[in-house]
Amino acid sequence: MSILVYTETENGKFKKASFEVASYAKAIADQTGGSVTAVAFNAANPQELEKYGVNKVLHVENEKLQKFNADAYAQVITEATKQETASIIVVSQSANAKYLAPLLAVNLEAGYASNVVEVPNTEDAFTVKRTAFTNKAFNETAINTSTKIIGLSTNSFGVHESETSAEIISFEGAVTDENFKINVESVDKNTDKVSIADAEVVISGGRGLKGPENWHLIEDLAETLNAATACSKPVSDMGWRPHGEHVGQTGKPVATNLYIAIGISGAIQHLAGISASKTKVVINNDPEAPFFKAADYGIVGDAFEVIPKLTEKLKEFKANNA
């Protein structure tokens, strides 16, 4: 039996989430017997996947598929699934993976479980543990179909090395014009900043920061930690920061290693969206702010005094630990 993973690349380089889905698929393979096949588009070094237990890479080098296109990519993965007679497909929960997974599910008439956080239980029925109610609960979901798609939550399983040797096979993937209904005209990507989805550390600011003119404090701190910047909902509603930075239940989900919330009260809708982060730090001048109940570490203090000091001390720390 083969387990298929969709391994994403950016400018030819594998994203960290690709190593995570590969590691996860390898864990399923160890449990159920079987091998791991990756589908990779335009990877500079497909061989790299063998470090994470991938036995075979179907490498797609198609001029038409240079740029991500959800329907066309789903079509290629559909064909790969059929060719390999794979019964389990694992994708990450990046924006692109979430875009294509439902299309893939219809192509393959497969049950799809999103936001999965653990290796499936295959003893009786095939069940997966997934988050629900925006991290306020977990839910065991049975997938009843013979082909199953798992959307693995970012950072829930981790990257685990497992050296093997992978066979690299060039894969055509017959796409048709039908797959290109959506014509991408332009991509506007902030290339010198890490995205919230990919960041190891996220620094988030709330209304306590008083106004957009103070955001250099957040940005300096973020730069020190190579972190992404984020914000609470009112901050983006008021136009202090772009919508893309709004995190929480109705914004972007954050599942990072370290989340630092500054001047954010910790409303339930905010906490729900960030609670999958491993370590949470709050800086707030109100000791009664609800965020203190949800955080691992906290400083009761004025953001305008604490942030510059923290930035400076972290710079020293980085210099000493480089």
Binding site: A70, S94, A95, N96, K98, Y99, A101, P102, A105, V106, N107, E109, G111, Y112, A113, S114, N115, A125, F133, T134, N135, K136, A137, F138, N139, E140, T141, I143, N144, G151, K181, I182, N183, V184, E185, V187, D188, V194, I196, D198, K233, D237, H243, G244, H246, Q249, T250, N257, I268, T279, V281, A295, D296, Y297, G298, G301, V306, L314, F317, N321
Partner: protein, 248 residues
């Protein structure tokens, strides 16, 4: 232009999440239900197309009778006509199949759904619906303009935005950005009165097998106490983050 807005009926964002029947069912006791926030942004954008471009706007929900107050609210906001497919939603695939039937019958040019429902966070229905119908699909859509038969849409990607053009018919998975928070409308008295006279059509489900099923719910383990660090002692925080949490 005929628009269909898919409405998911979800617990209010402040709801206490509890379970009953041996942790197999969501406990709706005392829970307030609302229009899924992502759908409310989509519905408000649809209202714009109605006002500025003469579109007609239908809404559809897959759900039992308890969803009707939510549906009435969409009519009060300004939708012209509502359809309720009379079955309990169990999974994304099933819901998408039911909606696909209604969408096909209604020959809509544009179908607006939300990026995800805030209850089960599936993020499935709009994409599945598009594929079942053979329409184009744009997810995490934060801006949508229609000119004749051509749609220009912006979608959020990790770390940026992507602009694309496509022809109708189209399905989108929408979210905040489609309209601003301040554009959301609270239904007024007139809207509420008019909503009572608008049609709410209940249709029979086609019924189909479910591909996934929620079996059991659990809640995350309670969180330990926060460790407070003195604002004068930032070194201590750095020490804890480095040595204890191993986060830096």
């Amino acid at each position: 232009m005929k628009i269909l807005v898919c409405i998911s009926h979800v617990p209010d964002t402040t709801s206490k999440i509890n379970f009953t029947e041996n942790d197999t069912k969501f406990d709706t006791n005392g829970v307030q239900f609302i229009i899924n926030p992502n759908d409310e942004f989509g519905l408000t954008r649809a209202m714009w197309f109605k006002e500025k471009q003469g579109a007609t706007v239908d809404v559809a929900t897959v759900g039992l009778k308890d969803t009707e107050p939510t549906i009435r609210k969409t009519l009060a906001i300004g939708a012209d006509n509502a359809i309720r497919i009379d079955t309990a939603p169990i999974d994304g695939y099933q819901v998408a199949k039911e909606l696909a039937k209604v969408a096909k019958d209604g020959e809509y040019d544009l179908i607006i759904a939300g990026r995800e429902s805030i209850d089960y966070n599936g993020g499935m229905v709009p994409g599945m619906l598009a594929k079942m119908l053979g329409y184009g699909f744009i997810n995490t859509c934060v801006s949508l303009e229609i000119d004749g038969n051509t749609a220009t849409a912006v979608r959020e990607i990790d770390g940026g935005k992507e602009t694309s053009k496509t022809e109708l018919p189209l399905v989108i998975g929408g979210q905040k950005g489609l309209v601003e928070e301040s554009d959301l409308k609270i239904p007024n008295m007139r809207g509420i009165m008019m909503a009572r006279k608008k049609p709410l059509n209940v249709v029979e489900p086609i019924g189909n097998e479910v591909s996934t099923e929620a079996k059991k719910f659990t809640k995350p383990a309670p969180k330990g106490e926060v460790k407070l660090v003195d604002a004068e002692n930032i070194d201590e925080l750095i020490n804890l983050l480095h040595n204890e949490a191993k986060a830096i």
